[in-house]
């Protein structure tokens, strides 16, 4: 099966030289065979390797984005569904006036709330994992990652099973005497928020865990020795140490949450739509390509703004 690289070298050494095959010998010859070594870099042919990526990104990423930008400045006739290209800001202006602006703002607030909820849950989770013994850390980390790598669609769909009226959550709450009537949680903004938190929580736990793992464990001991306890330790030591992780996590969760399409489509029941779904319906249902493109450009702008904020937030932390 897979060959250990060092063994391969050893075979070569034995083949090329009559020596016993010490790989240190190879390193020793480095200076004398500069020209051969340079050959590995193959100045011009090497750049052919970049062609697939360039073609893919150029043709199917940059060109389509440029198309969207151009479409967003045109107008689509809702009678003939033909788009006329012009240089008008009409779509952007009607976006600001339209009924959609409320929906879009509400959906952005929902994404932000879900991201914040992720931080609040992930912080103690990551800390809990980082404080365990090495072997247990790996197992717990796997327990967080593995569900994330299974079907996103099915994981979101699963919540219908749990939240629906007459489902397990309702029976449990009724047995505990906490609920009288039906649950009525499914197909609400809450259920969408829950779906987003559930869907992306591992993307918040992982970077915070990485930040805490890199931190010097003695810091926690020192703080505890100096009398820092409970919340104070959490707030003064753990939160600042995990800040780079929190920032990275907010980007990893916030960006897909802002453009979320699947979760509202499943857990919103067609009632509560988010930014992504509004764009989608402009393209496939209404057929107003120009207006849909303007919306897509706005979503793109929101994401870019998030990245700019992140770049500024990250700067003081880096040395």
């Amino acid at each position: 099966m897979r060959q250990e690289p060092r063994l391969v070298v050893r075979e070569w050494v034995q083949g090329v030289t009559t020596d016993t095959g010490d790989s240190r010998l190879a390193r020793g010859r480095k200076i004398t065979t500069r020209s051969q070594h340079e050959a590995l870099r193959l100045p011009s042919a090497r750049h052919l390797l970049l062609v697939p990526t360039l073609l893919l990104v150029g043709l199917f990423f940059l060109v389509p984005l440029a198309f969207t930008a151009i479409y967003s400045l045109g107008t689509t006739s809702l009678v003939t569904f033909e788009t006329h290209f012009g240089w008008t800001l009409l779509n952007y202006r009607s976006l600001a006036d339209s009924l959609y602006v409320g929906t879009i703002l509400r959906s952005l607030v929902l994404s932000a709330a879900a991201t914040l909820a992720c931080v609040l849950i992930a912080l103690p989770m990551a800390f809990f994992i980082a404080q365990q013994r090495r072997a247990l850390q790996t197992i717990l980390l796997l327990a967080v990652i593995v569900p994330f790598w299974t079907s996103f669609l099915i994981r979101i769909y699963a919540w219908i099973n749990i939240l629906q009226n007459g489902g397990p959550l309702q029976s449990i709450l009724q047995h505990m005497g906490l609920l009288d009537g039906p649950l009525n949680l499914l197909y609400t903004p809450f259920s969408i928020g829950l779906g987003i938190v559930y869907g992306y929580l591992p993307l918040m736990v992982l970077p915070i865990y990485v930040a805490l793992e890199r931190a010097d464990p003695h810091v926690f001991e020192a703080a505890a020795d100096l009398g820092s306890r409970g919340w104070s330790l959490m707030w003064n030591i753990v939160v600042p140490l995990s800040k780079p992780g929190i920032i990275a996590g907010c980007i990893l969760v916030g960006i897909p949450a802002t453009g979320e399409f699947v979760t509202p489509a499943i857990l919103g029941g067609g009632k509560t739509l988010m930014f992504g779904n509004v764009i989608g319906s402009q393209f496939l249902e209404v057929g107003n390509l120009a207006f849909g493109s303007a919306m897509a450009m706005c979503l793109f702008a929101v994401v870019l703004a998030l990245l700019v904020v992140q770049a500024f937030a990250h700067r003081p932390g880096e040395t």
């Binding site: 897979r2 060959q3 690289p5 391969v8 070298v9 010859r29 065979t33 051969q36 050959a39 590995l40 750049h47 970049l50 697939p52 990526t53 360039l54 893919l56 990104v57 990423f61 389509p64 984005l65 198309f67 969207t68 989770m125 809990f128 404080q131 717990l140 980390l141 967080v144 593995v146 569900p147 299974t150 079907s151 996103f152 669609l153 099915i154 699963a158 919540w159 219908i160 099973n161 749990i162 629906q164 007459g166 559930y198 929580l201 865990y209 793992e213 505890a224 409970g230 330790l233 959490m234 980007i251 802002t258 453009g259 399409f261 489509a265 992504g276 493109s293 979503l299 793109f300 994401v303």
Partner: protein, 271 residues
Amino acid sequence: MTLLRRHPVVCVVGVLGIAFMWLPILVVVLNSLNGDVYLVQWGGLTLRWFRQAAADQQVISAIVTSLEMALTTAVLSVFVALTGVLWWRKASRRGRQFFNALVYARLVLPEVVLATSLFLVLTRLELPLGMVTAVIGHTVWDSAFATVILQARARLLSEEIEEAGADLGASPISVLFTVTLPSLAPGILAAGVLAFSLSFDDVVTSFFLSGSRLTTLPLLVMGFIRFRVTPEVNAIGALVTSSMIASTLFVLWLVGRSSRGRGSLAQHLGL
């Protein structure tokens, strides 16, 4: 430290958080075996829903379509990612920055925006929407993830062994095939499995680019649950989820085994 580790809030949130990750998956698996048609109570163990799903021609053809799409996407994504990463490894600082920009731009752009943009171009060119257009869309997106996984693997590779090979007279091509690629192999497989599962599970890109006649498994499931919760969907979900868990564990085992402690789990994930 011990005080905070045993702090009730940290422990409770930690344990509940991990349980929270698994609870919905468990519910789907249990309900797929639940004999009660309305799924409101436990109606005894049954394999009825699995048999029903397996007998459904729509389900079978959707699975075949999805497998075809995911396999093609995985092969293309690995090709693009591998060639790209081989270039990136030897590139200058500027070149690396440029390459990373190409990768991260694809990762941060919301999938809806990419899908609708491609939809505009492809319909403008009057290309019929179908398998080819969907695979293009998937590859743009999934090859970026594949690239990140491969980059993480490539970072763990020392150049000394390759240089040693070259010093000893191996041609660049034979260094590539006998040293570099075998060392990257676990990463290549991991990237392929990731691209495969992302494509197999994709809703958004398929929704816009696969046209009206092609139905992938996720699109079929979306259609099913728009009207009602059927036990059949639970059976499909249980199958898909368990096979994805199995493939994830396999890849993690493979990557972990081949790296023998070099680099942490987080490094392998490209974090």
